[in-house]
């Protein structure tokens, strides 16, 4: 488990160094994810240890958003001033994005011919 965590942190660190070094607008962890993805393609897949650790971490992904979400208490003033545009905007925009993306992707998957093995 320690080995797998070390590996994840090393890739995150690599991502941060690249992001800072080249002044990229993309955060380090996302670059780290892309690098690890490339490494997994090159290596042919994760070790069982890495797979288990990732699974454990991702199983409770929701937990990791709780501290930032609690930051809502810093914005009570603005939220109470602008609650209507914010609420309607978030609700409609999120539902619209889900519906439009899903319908378009389903349509594109039918329209674009696929290779034989998927038929």
């Amino acid at each position: 488990m320690i080995g797998a965590i070390t590996l994840l942190l090393v890739f995150q660190l690599l991502g941060e160094v690249l992001a800072q070094g080249f002044g990229l607008p993309i955060p380090g962890p996302v670059i780290g994810m892309a690098l690890l993805f490339a490494a997994l393609i090159w290596r042919g897949g994760p070790s069982p240890e890495l797979r288990n650790t990732a699974q454990g971490l991702l199983q409770h992904l929701s937990l990791l958003f709780v501290p930032a979400g609690t930051g809502v208490m810093l914005h009570f003033q603005r939220l109470s001033d602008e609650w209507l545009p914010l609420l309607v905007s978030l609700l409609v925009s999120t539902a619209l994005t889900i519906a439009l993306t899903a319908l378009l992707l389903r349509w594109l998957l039918r329209a674009v011919p696929r290779s034989k093995e998927d038929a």
Binding site: G45, R51, G69, G71, S89, S93, A99, L105
Partner: protein
């Protein structure tokens, strides 16, 4: 002993132990409630845990910064967890290659819809410009969204809250939208939820299936990149 309770609280509030333990307890309690509701999307664990913590901090007059000094250890794990998303992604490699073109089309349209519709609706209903700019990256995972908000002139800490609200709303609404539109493919369901609702949508998609989760993770990562590239170019043009 009771008169000393206040002093004990003051002592504990000064160490990271309390914020960290509170976060884990609130989350465990929220997960328990979610299970009692049969995993219903409206009983979202992030929403329940945040509500409990805000109530507790409010009631005890504890500043957010004091709480976050402890909770930052949980917050920090967002980084390695983002990196770890490469693993479920790799498991879908075969399907990803075959679906590359449709996925790219859906990504482009989904990414623009998420940002522009939020800004347009906010603007129509009279949101201030700072609020509109903070809304633009709402569908992107927290660390990227905060970076984008800063670069286009929004308020990063407000964006963090809007991002999490978006994640919760999407995770709550997706099942009903998919039922109404008869979307049944787990890959499509996961991808659309990942575009609209980043990590919280991804966490929700993993509850449905490994495949839905992997496509949500892919969508989240790609939408982060796409939005980070598009918004700094598009926004000055839209807000004008």
């Amino acid at each position: 002993m009771t008169p000393r309770l206040g002093e004990i609280w003051v002592y504990l509030a000064a160490s990271p132990l309390l914020g960290l333990t509170m976060t884990l307890l609130a989350y465990q309690g929220a997960c328990y409630l979610n299970r009692r509701c049969g995993g219903h999307p409206l009983a979202n664990p992030v929403l329940l845990a945040v509500a409990a913590l805000v109530a507790l901090l409010w009631f005890t007059a504890t500043p957010y910064q004091t709480y976050f000094d402890g909770a930052q250890f949980v917050h920090f794990l967002l980084g390695p967890a983002t990196v770890a998303l490469a693993i479920p992604l790799h498991a879908q490699l075969g399907r990803l290659k075959r679906m590359a073109l449709p996925l790219f089309g859906a990504l482009l349209v989904g990414s623009l819809t998420a940002a522009l519709s939020a800004v347009a609706i906010g603007g129509l209903l009279g949101a201030s410009q700072a609020t509109q700019l903070s809304l633009a990256p709402k569908s992107v995972t927290t660390p990227i969204a905060m970076g984008i908000a800063e670069s286009i002139g929004g308020l990063p800490s407000l964006t963090a809250v809007l991002v999490i609200a978006t994640g919760i709303l999407g995770a709550m609404a997706a099942r009903f939208i998919y039922r109404a539109l008869k979307i049944e493919d787990d890959a499509v369901r996961g991808f659309a939820l990942g575009i609209a609702s980043h990590g919280i949508g991804t966490a929700r998609a993993f509850q449905d299936s490994e495949q839905a989760g992997a496509f949500a993770a892919l969508a989240m990562g790609l939408n982060g990149l796409m939005t980070a590239l598009l918004l700094p170019v598009v926004m000055p043009w839209v807000i004008g």
